[in-house]
Symmetry: C2
Subunit: 424 residues, 2 copies
């Protein structure tokens, strides 16, 4: 008799690649973690949240609905506020068809939306294109669900369109195009590289995907993950792919209030075209029939009072300062043959070592860093299993999100010392 | 070209059977809904919640962690409190191996745990046993994921063990036993019938499942859904299946703070044996990497201050009163040839009409009730698609959860008038 009755999915779902890193960080108090994607703790909006929650819970009229069941797709008020918020970010005008509140769904972080969208779209063996590199938890979902990923080369201003076309041509030639369902793009201050995709490239991606739809036999969606969009401290905001003319029917836009407001509230959202919206709505009915109402009311409260915008402005300054501190430390301590991709937002810088120097968990660099009490995310964890190329393993994601300025300086100093030993 | 790129799951997932009922209720303000499984609004703990949230968010020391990311399996404190809570309910003693906090996972309602447990256990085509009738959202998950259900006859004190054995024998004979993964049992004040399963029957179920494991070739789990356990106003509490000697390794226990405390906080939990715990933990990492910390801290706060127990005592009295009001109204207004299953807890009574009278959505009874502005849940929605029997459609679930006492009286009066027309 087998000792386990697990399903294929149950057996296949691996441990999160980063869990070991997290545990290591927790078990070594002297360690400075530049690995975690946590947000800055001192600026978390405890006063704002207390105020708004007090207001909601002070009267039965607002308090009771907040503690009662709600609607699977989310509270109408928060969906409207979210649509308006996106219209504003995109300078889209309130009548924009592609920004209708009726296509907005409120979820448990944008993570839940990514999961459900993949459930709605992909069967085992289907294909999804991802940036090379990309968000490792997204790769975990793909792995768990038996969905195959193909990497599209990433340039400093977004995916390499010529390479995207090559990949699509290759899939067409091999007859695999009918399995291709979507391109997953983290369009703002990407995790892990910090890259922001130019609007022209979003247009180009949608155009290319459309060209190959006939051969695919069905729509190919652009999943635009905008989780870091509002953590922007440098440069202008860029319209989302919803603004590409004719693109709305093919764009799944996911965003979150977790990162700009508070991860502990875990409220995210997505804008989905039909028939995806309906399918994901039904799936959410089975997952949890709706995200916690109390949190939705909290977010609606901070949005409609303008407290949200003020808070976002505050943390943008904060992350801007931390990013500058990291940049200065990198200039001072890192060897000159490490290429740094700095970002105008988000939580991460990306460091590229010479190709012959490995940064993986078992590498000398990683082990020496650990010994020196500093932690980063090895770049290799962010690459999909793609038979078309070897996984690069000479990069690192370094985060300025949760570490204090002092720890950023000290962490980069420690990491620099390690790198100098191997690179100079 | 197909207009949709949806997956098999995406296409298969149906609308929730009850969504139409909900919409009907919302769109007709004069309608009295005895259909919804909502909880009693006036007793929702708005003051308690405000107090505890204020305390948490007053100081950075407790406020910041509540607004930051947490751990995928849930906050250690809440997991410990939950284990202790279950030990107390089960009178198990704090050293009970089957009640270890390390097997406790905190989830977005117990619904999310049910979903993930099925993901971890069942492939498409696998089999799950359910009570006949059972919780319709559980049936929706099965349908969505292509899992087949087989019904086990329900008696007033739990599943019919002789019938369970027959079903197992039949599966063994047809060679389908290797596809059987679990028996889903709503053991306390069952949805929809209000039935509570005797402890001896839990023991009997586990024994029978064990007997057939060798032929199945793997463990067969008992999923004990205890969502309504703490809404008890009559009779003693009954130990959970975790208390069956030797049963712990086969019991998935799911519970929730949503119903006894507040649905708007959507915090549930489960106790899972290995290797299920690890598998579900990884799956949750992909779903949302952890339920909102703020809500977990809120629940931990109300649990450790004793406010939770006091609140539960209060709503038990409240539901007890509502149930008595419903019972009186039923006695007064329902024809004598309707069999009423009353319950010592939960939110529901179950009414069984003569077999030749249909109660389904398209039936004369349902349409007349609707015309009379009263809504119930047709019993047929609660039966699995099981080729072994015709779906009974002569029953109704009537809820005293959210309606006021006045509306319970008036709703039952209206429903009684309809029934008298068809039954007398």
């Amino acid at each position: 008799m087998k000792t386990s009755a697990l399903s294929v999915l149950g057996r296949r779902t691996g441990p999160p690649p980063i869990s070991w890193l997290m545990q290591t960080a927790l078990s070594r108090p002297k360690l400075i973690s530049l690995a975690a994607g946590f947000t800055d703790s001192p600026t978390l909006p405890i006063d704002i949240s207390r105020g708004v929650l007090n207001r909601i819970l002070r009267s039965p009229k607002t308090g009771r609905p907040a503690l009662q069941y709600g609607i699977t797709t989310g509270e109408t008020n928060l969906r409207r506020l979210t649509a308006r918020h996106l219209q504003k970010l995109d300078a889209a005008g309130v009548t924009s068809q592609s920004h209708s509140w009726k296509q907005v769904m409120i979820t448990g972080g944008s993570q839940q939306l990514l999961y459900m969208a993949l459930e709605a779209l992909c069967d085992e063996g289907d294909l999804v294109l991802v940036e090379d590199p990309t968000y490792f938890v997204f790769l975990s979902i793909l792995q768990s669900r038996g969905i195959r990923a193909r990497g599209v080369r990433l340039e400093r201003d977004g995916p390499d369109l010529a390479h995207l076309e090559t990949v699509l041509q290759r899939l067409k030639k091999s007859g695999e195009l009918p399995r291709l369902k979507a391109f997953y793009l983290i369009s703002y201050f990407q995790n892990p590289t910090g890259v922001t995709t130019r609007f022209e490239k979003k247009r180009g991606i949608l155009k290319l995907l459309k060209q190959f739809e006939r051969a695919a036999g069905h729509p190919i969606y652009l999943m635009e993950d905008a989780a870091y969009r509002e953590l922007r401290f440098n440069g202008p905001d860029i319209p989302s792919a919803l603004m590409v003319p004719g693109g709305a029917g093919r764009v799944i836009y996911t965003g979150t209030y977790s990162k700009p407001y508070a991860p502990g509230t875990r409220v995210g959202f997505g804008l989905l075209p039909e028939p995806l919206f309906t399918s994901v709505q039904r799936i959410k009915g089975n997952h949890d029939f709706g995200t916690a109402n109390l949190l939705q009311q909290l977010l609606a409260g901070v949005l409609e009072t303008g407290l949200y915008d003020r808070h976002v402005a505050k943390i943008e300054r904060r992350y801007g300062r931390k990013a500058r501190v990291m940049k200065q430390a990198l200039t001072k301590h890192f060897p000159p043959n490490v290429e740094i991709w700095e970002s105008g937002g988000g939580l991460y810088f990306w460091a590229r070592l010479p190709r012959n120097i490995s940064t993986g968990v078992k590498s000398k660099v990683f082990q020496a860093a650990l010994k020196n009490n500093v932690l980063y995310v090895p770049g290799e964890l962010c690459y999909a299993d793609d038979p078309a190329r070897r996984k690069p393993d000479h990069e690192m994601r370094i985060s300025f999100g949760s570490a204090s300025e002092e720890n950023i300086r000290e962490g980069i100093k420690r990491l620099g010392a390690v790198l100098r030993k191997f690179l100079l």
